[in-house]
Amino acid sequence: MDIENNYRFIHLLYVPTMACNMACKYCYLEDNTKDEWYNTKPLDTLEYAVNKFFKSNIIPFNISLHGGEVTTLSKKDFGEIIEYISNYYKDNRMLIESNGFKIGSPHIKTNLYDIDKHIETIKKYNVSISGSIDLPLKLHDEYRVTKNNEKTLDKILENIKLLESLPNKKKVSATIFKEHFNLDEIIKDIKYLHEETCLDMNDFNFMIGFDYNSNGLLHHISEEEQLELFNKMKETFINTELEEGLKNAWFQEFGPGYCTNCSNCGEKFFLLEKNGDIYSCVRGQKQRNFYYGNIYNNSPEEIMKTAFDKIYEAHNKLPFNEECSKCKYLYLCKTGCPFVKNTYNTNKSYTCKLQQELYKYWGYDKDIDNKETVYNYVSKMHQDEIIKYYPEQKTTDHKDLDELIEEDEKLKYIYDSNCFILKVEDEEYNLSSQILKGIRQIIYINEKTEINLYIKNDLLDQVCDYPNNNALYMMLLSGDTIKYGDEKRTKQAHIMTHQIYKGVLEQNKSDKMGYFKVNINTILKNYYKYLSKTNPSNLFFTTTSLRDYHYTKQKNNAYYHIDSINLPFQNIEFYLIGGSTNVEEKSRNI
């Protein structure tokens, strides 16, 4: 992003016509392949949208054409749009490239059936072409037919010959469903297209079909079959002329540079139809949940916000997948395409295994300690789950606290979240170490609040030779801070410590099995007047022995000292209301 001008860069797929000259049996657009906006010139909407986006500092870094079928446009309309895109790239090259995006030639996605009609424009503007075919080719004529049910392969192969003399980038892609899953035939046809046509099959794309609206005709391949496809291609094409394609373009759809691997693709990818409607992409086209608005009726800001919100919502139909939270490649995958996830009612990528295999093949590092990645992801895309995935603070140059705790059995009890339960009136809080939990839990109490503490009854036996000399150790700190020591470090002011020996705790009746119980509100009450009136105060619990062990460990170990520089014990923060605290005054002044 250009910080100074606050530009946002988007990928814009323009559909200048919904009309199509073919009637592929599995077309995702079904009955929508007809042009109903006869009175609007195809260029007008694109020009209007680009100008409107520009005024809002939203810059398309790529404008590609998609259908319908773009070659059904008249020569004039097609030529005008291509000329416009070509000039757009020329005029904005510096802005786009200086923000890290590459500029190519005008690009079209086509079925190649009527491409001969536009060959002059294609030549003149060096139009880059991406054609769709079915592999094995013998299935092409079965599925990809004209509206009169005529075969199309021969004409398409003839059209490909027309491209031979052009220097333009020309490629094809094929979608693999179960019905296409004849790997030997696919290999044979890839070789044929590479050797016998002008297509450079190093620049070919595999896509994996998903059967959301293929009229029940086609079925998706399993994750194991996806792997089989990749492995068979690897086995066949390694050390051949097509090795480059295998390593790069063929499976790029599953790589991190592709739209399906964005955290929120609604920030960057848009499909614009001639009538001004904006959708997420071709997958979401004509789908209500992926409709972002209309460029003639909505502001770019509204469209961008709707896009982000709808994609967020799509990713949140189901909770964040636990497997993804453990995956070392989450940083590349981001859980996959929201449209497909919603279609399959799943919360992980439908090509998960294939992606993992490809990441290994491409040499991506594993994000071994992925907790930060997970948190970054959920804090953007599954905000509901930030508490669950809040990471411990990490250090870069030495062992983390959790590792040190794991290595020292005696430290465990200082940090255990099952040792203390605080019952405030009727509500119970399991207390955990403030260092480990990261998040802050704050409650409200007043002088009359009933507060009971439950202590696991074997806790006083831990790290202690003479448990009868051991005690529950409570520390009360004010929310107000003081400076102390030569270094003038700021910390919360200690108000009191209080110890209750094991022999006393044993005599109290407890209503919780395995725990001692002690009422502490009468103890705390004596100190309420010393507490902060503005900031949450802090109450810590441990035992005398554990506290001693903590400070001994600190004295002898620099890393532990650094990692537990603040009090590590189980705690709760609270506001005191009543008397003359600011909180209460603030409430009264409402």
């Binding site: 540079g257 990818f269 998040i439 603030k586």
Partner: protein
């Protein structure tokens, strides 16, 4: 500001919690009133305030109502409010992005011009 004038200890607790929202988010007076009413309606109701959204979460854990907001004052990644307690999620500062595997990977430039539908 809130229409509710707190008198009892419980009301003060709840109002204090609701007012915490204003420390981190731009919200309307109507929103605060609605939030207060929602929280007192059921002891198990809660309000989750996150980076870009605020959820009213019902007793059964489902989101009853969602608002999109700007976490304008920063400093936190979120907070959860119940009738009697407040949980604050401090802003997490990453310790590293230095390695090749640290989570800010792809720029998603998608210059490969292959933004196709699978069934086309």
């Amino acid at each position: 500001m809130l229409k509710k004038n707190p008198e009892t200890y419980n009301e003060i607790k709840t109002v204090s919690n609701i007012l915490k929202i204003t420390e981190h988010y731009h919200v309307s007076e109507e929103f605060l009133d609605e939030a207060y009413d929602f929280i007192v309606e059921n002891d198990k109701n809660s309000i989750k305030c996150l980076k870009t959204i605020i959820h009213f979460v019902g007793a059964d854990g489902t989101n009853v109502k969602t608002f999109t907001v700007d976490n304008v004052f920063g400093g936190i990644d979120g907070m959860v409010i119940t009738k009697s307690s407040l949980t604050i999620v401090p802003h997490y500062t990453p310790y590293t992005y230095s390695s090749g595997s640290g989570g800010s990977s792809s720029n998603n430039n998608n210059n490969n011009n292959n933004n196709n539908n699978n069934n086309h």
